[in-house]
Symmetry: C2
DNA sequence: TAATTATATTGCAATATTACGATGAATATT
DNA sequence: AATATTCATCGTAATATTGCAATATAATTA
């Protein structure tokens, strides 16, 4: 036990859950906001900005990258990360699809 | 280690992460969708619909209830759950606030 | 080329989540 | 009143997540 039974749910439900996980940690929310506001930034800046260890930031960045939300481009010894606009819109659409399923009041 | 360092992040970042956690499990997404489409339903129906044990469903319902997303009203021996419209809109707004922070393209 | 800088990966400890059987509490039925 | 039904809670096992030190890798500089 203790294992999520993905086979019980639809592809869409599993997909949304997988995406929601990304936003389910304040560090990743903070990273995304920082990438948005600085328009793109290198890992070192994020380590400075947030108070987490370099290894931890790197791990969070990987999770964001794995789901295609951010992209990293190598710039010499550094890596410059930024939001993937297409994916971002896609995710917003998926969330709003759920949000908009509920319209009226029942209770 | 292993503990999320909530104090490093803003109230808003922590709040959003806490809410995202709710959507981060397909069973809870499925429960919400079922509540939306049937307009309200009792725990027993959810146990039938999803293939999870009653105790597990009950646990997921509690998490949804704890964050105010759903409400349960006792109806005899059963409990009828439904979406909390105010909270639902509030959550949609919070998510869209993040989604809309990113507008233009950087890369 | 050796030392430095920047980031990723590995390994592990602490904690959180998921799932369910067993049990409890409350209402409904006989 | 005894039994059945419905749901919540407790305890526990399995697994996942978070965080970081240590180390690896790759580019830069001295």
């Amino acid at each position: 036990m203790g294992v999520t039974k993905f086979d019980l749910f639809t592809k869409e439900q599993n997909e949304l859950a997988r995406l929601a996980r990304v936003f389910a940690h304040p560090a990743r929310v903070a990273i995304l906001q920082h990438l948005i506001h600085t328009n793109a930034c290198i890992t070192g800046a994020l380590v400075q900005e947030l108070g987490l260890a370099q290894a931890t930031i790197s791990q969070h960045l990987r999770e964001l990258k794995d789901l295609g939300i951010i992209r990293g481009t190598v710039e010499g010894a550094s890596v410059c990360y930024c939001i993937n606009p297409t994916r971002w819109k896609e995710i917003r659409h998926l969330f709003n699809q759920l949000f908009d399923q509920f319209e009226h009041n029942c209770c």
